[in-house]
């Protein structure tokens, strides 16, 4: 094996794609340095002496004849304490450090280590010399942020006996903290490790997801839940609220670590997260949300080749925290931009296009990405679990879900939240269409809801769904005859469905209380609304005039349930229920 680095010369430049000769011996997906400015690129095709390279930075002004040097390493990320609360570009360069070096605009060829080399972390060993360790076994701990304890784990492909381990104390990420003997020799371990982004970190076994990822969003948790370790797609045209929804999920999901990948989207959206997350409190710990979040930003005007790297960088960091035994959630906004980047590069390679110009391997690439999600048994010696839930936004052209990216995504993911422009136009948010969306996790997670929240959960949910379905059928008739022509029972049904839509499904991301709704509160709200509906049907049987039921005072209480404080709702809802019963019994007396 030779360590000779391949040195070649540029022979062609076409946008983000360049071709170099003299590259024989370089490996596919190796990282290369391009030109005098040392731009970063990756080999994406080899042909005898020639290598085709996608460059992660702007190629303006590059000339044929400039040097291309292979580093002999695949694109890798640095993993260790210091990732959380940071914001990176697509190839894991920290944006604050870039700003220090080149100012407010991102210049080319900047280098900055992903993890601060100088910062000292307080390391506490959890193993002793002589112990045997496997890959992903914890050998020590660092309090990375106020919420997350960073467990220092043995790299996945290493196992052996601990020869020495350092004492409790302050270390940088590059200082040796342990030596492991693995038969072949002694390996020094540091707090930082590297992992190639395109290679999934190994797991022992994949489990079925059985726990829900609680998001505090009623339409998601109650109607179309996603499981911890599950996958979900959220497609929608522009202005339907994809990004707000993803921000909500990043804020309120009960994952322990959140990775947010802004892939080809607006710069201001990342700024919004950076501005808001440090101020928001984690509902469980009360600490700033930023302390459990890693941000990756490849905004739409940043180099297109780094778009696909950004998603892989994100999921590799997610896997690293999963390997510590955490529940991780990754949001990718938006996977369509990733697909478009693939299409652009594929076009420059003059590959035979598949559907709508996307490369033929679009489906397999998307599947590879989503398959890195899951609830898994870790490879470590103890029986431990971790999970990654992946939620990807899809931005279909013209809001038409029949396009290749949306369709290929739907084939893989288990939860589909269909955003609807009509709902968004009338400011029904979240604008998730309840008739088109689905979740395949309902059965897997129902035992959790029944145990933790209420026995009747699935029944309530299905009853509400049936009501909404019935409403959409009735709406067809209403369009022809007008609502007044319907029999009272049907009108009661329309009212019930309207309440579910307006008072349960609609939820304001910007209201201080309504932005997060605990599971128990969701359950109670839906129970009361359906109780009201049942009563309207009874009332109709007893010939009470439907208008009296529709105009009763308790309805307003029901409508304002969502804004009742999350801490005090129990008591308040009991009162609401009492008032409701009272009012109905009065009506019955008056009516009979």
């Amino acid at each position: 094996m030779s360590n000779k680095q391949q040195e070649g010369k540029i022979i062609r430049i076409s946008g983000p794609v360049i071709e170099a000769d003299g590259m024989r011996g370089a490996k596919m997906y190796d990282v290369v340095r391009v030109g005098g400015e040392n731009l970063i690129g990756e080999i994406i095709r080899l042909n005898e002496d020639n290598a085709i390279i996608q460059v992660y930075e702007d190629t303006n002004g590059l000339r044929p004849g400039e040097m291309v040097i292979s580093t002999g390493m695949p694109l890798s990320v640095e993993l260790g304490p210091g990732l959380l609360a940071n914001i990176y570009d697509g190839i894991q360069r920290p944006l604050p450090a870039i700003q220090e070096k080149t100012g407010e605009f991102i210049a080319r060829g900047v280098e900055a280590p992903a993890i601060d080399r100088k910062k000292k972390w307080y390391f506490k060993p959890t193993v002793k010399a002589g112990e045997k360790v496997n890959g992903c076994d914890v050998i020590g701990e660092v309090q990375e942020t106020s919420i997350i304890t960073h467990r220092i784990i043995v790299p996945p492909e290493l196992s052996g006996k601990i020869l020495t381990i350092e004492k409790e104390g302050d270390y940088t990420v590059e200082e040796d903290i342990a030596v492991v003997s693995n038969g072949g020799g002694d390996v020094k371990l540091q707090m930082m490790q590297r992992w190639p982004v395109r290679k999934p970190r190994p797991v022992a076994k994949k489990y079925d997801p059985t726990l829900p990822l609680i998001t505090g969003q009623r339409i998601i948790d109650t109607f179309f839940p996603v499981a911890k370790g599950g996958t979900a797609a959220i497609p929608g045209g522009f202005g339907t609220g994809k990004t707000v929804m993803l921000h909500q999920l990043a804020k309120w999901s009960d994952a322990q670590v959140v990775i947010y990948v802004g892939c080809g989207e607006r710069g201001n959206e990342m700024t919004d997260v950076l501005r808001e997350f440090p101020k928001l409190e984690d509902p469980k710990s009360g600490e700033p949300l930023m302390n459990r979040t890693v941000l990756i930003a490849n905004t739409s005007n940043m180099p297109v080749a780094a778009r696909d790297a950004s998603v892989y960088t994100g999921i590799t960091i997610a896997e690293y925290y999963r390997d510590m035994g955490y529940d991780v959630a990754l949001m990718a906004d938006s996977t369509s931009r990733l697909a478009e980047a693939m299409r652009e590069i594929s076009g420059r390679l003059e590959e035979m296009p598949g559907e709508e110009g996307y490369p033929a391997y679009l489906a397999s690439r998307l599947a590879e990405f989503y398959e890195r999600a899951g609830r898994v048994k870790l490879i470590c010696s103890k029986d431990k679990e971790g999970s990654i839930s992946v939620i990807g936004a899809v931005s279909p052209p013209g809001g038409d879900f029949s396009e290749p990216v949306a369709q290929n995504t739907l084939r893989i993911v288990k939860v589909f939240w269909a955003l609807d422009a009509d709902l968004a136009d009338r400011r029904h948010f979240p604008s998730i269409n309840w008739l088109k969306s689905y979740s395949l996790y309902l059965n897997e997670i129902q035992s959790w809801w029944k145990k933790e929240i209420g026995e009747g959960w699935l029944k309530l949910r299905n009853k509400a769904m049936a009501l909404l379905q019935k409403e959409s059928e009735l709406q067809e008739i209403v369009k022809l005859v007008g609502p007044d022509a319907l029999p009272p029972k049907e009108r009661g049904l329309l009212e019930g469905a309207r309440m579910i839509r307006e008072d349960f499904l609609q939820q304001s991301a910007f209201h201080e209380v309504d932005t997060f709704c605990p599971g128990k509160k969701q359950y109670e709200m839906l129970r009361l609304i359906l109780k009201y509906f049942d009563k309207t049907q009874e009332a109709a049987n007893k010939n009470i005039h439907i208008d009296d039921v529709i105009n009763m005072n308790s309805r307003e209480n029901l409508a304002r349930m969502k804004n009742v404080s999350n801490k005090l709702f129990d008591k308040k809802f009991q009162e609401t229920e009492k008032d409701l019963d009272k009012e109905f019994s009065l009506l019955e007396k008056g009516g009979s």
Partner: protein
Amino acid sequence: MSHKDIEYTTVTEVAGPLIIVDGVKDVAYNEVVKIKTSTGEERTGQVLEAFTDKAIIQVFEGTKGLDTDKTSVRFIGETMKLGVSKDILGRVFDGTGNPIDNAPPIIPEERREINGNPINPYAREYPSEFIQTGISTIDGLNTLVRGQKLPIFSGAGLPHNEMAAQIARQAKVLGKEEKFAVVFCAMGITSEEANLFIRDFENTGALERTVMFLNLADDPTIERIILPRMALTCAEYLAFDLNMHVLVILTDLTNYAEALREIAAAREEVPGRRGYPGYMYTDLAMLYERAGRIKGKKGSITQIPMLTMPDDDITHPIPDLTGYITEGQIVLDRGLHKKDIYPPVAVLPCLSRLMDRGIGEDRTREDHADVSNQLYAAYAEGCDLRDLVAIVGEDALSERDRKFLKFADEFEQKFVKQESHENRSIVQTLTIGWELLSDLPTAELKKIDEKYIKKYLPKTKEEKE
């Protein structure tokens, strides 16, 4: 040896807007090229693809009259740059950055790469300063803030230019007098349309604070590719070096996208939707994302791009990709225009993504968000009822529904419609909103907090009596 002095006469192919030159050495990607025709006329081009001994060049002024015999090509050794200086204000430039106002060329303090570099998201300041445009549908329902990019989606024959001129004329931040500038970038619009803006800038005295980049309908189409980049480079200089608040008007992006498609087709690239290149999203983003604010800098860039939707189709790739990048959109509607409503803003599909942070107690008024949501919801309901009425007739409606139906009509006539020189303050806009809402049953105003209803809802006649 510098290759700047070499004149190549090795043009081997002329195809559409492109030429291919053989036997060249050391050509840089995106390098600027000077081309001389056999009659001595000089043109400018840019390298699209560079090989060791060959270059593909796009010619901005068109390839008419070029040949594969005598045409000579010189590479100038640098990529496209724009010279900037304080004196740039008040000047007019053509598609290749040469002044066309009969004044001497400016002496640049600096020459800047027109492609610019992306703003580091970490360095961005989140836009939150309310801009009052005096147009109710914008201020009240789709508020514009400093540093936003808010496009106008229009159609052929709709008054989007009047509207943009009105915004440029009336836009101001309440309670402040600050340095501002307008950068006007015309891509392929007619001279008549351009004159409308120029006249308007003259009348309001804004001309000396305006920089114009003009490529009119009869100018070379390929220049439209570089024109907005020059305009935005100029805007960045004014905003982030000279601390000015810059309003950039880009019109018409549809022509820009057509030029992009023309080049892609000439290069025989694999087309994306409707023949537009697959990288159009990235390309448009390189323009739109140059709007914004930067932490620690006083200036800002606010963009109003305008585009005409082919056949009024909002799902056409140009508006569609734009909508995915910009922070909202103002959509104009032919139906309203036919009803003689100016500005014909179709309220329902409009959106301003940055509105939430730009309105409220300290910025506009405490009740703004609630009023806006309520107006939206009520108007949407009214519009639905119109469809219903078309089938069952108005008599089949309930009392409540009839009120919403009437609301929708009144809303269009009183709130949406205004004069092209009517500059409504935000308080006036909200007052009109409340008056319209007072015609609805108070119990229906579910989106408004009770305390605002008490404070702002005008007393109806019966209550007064």
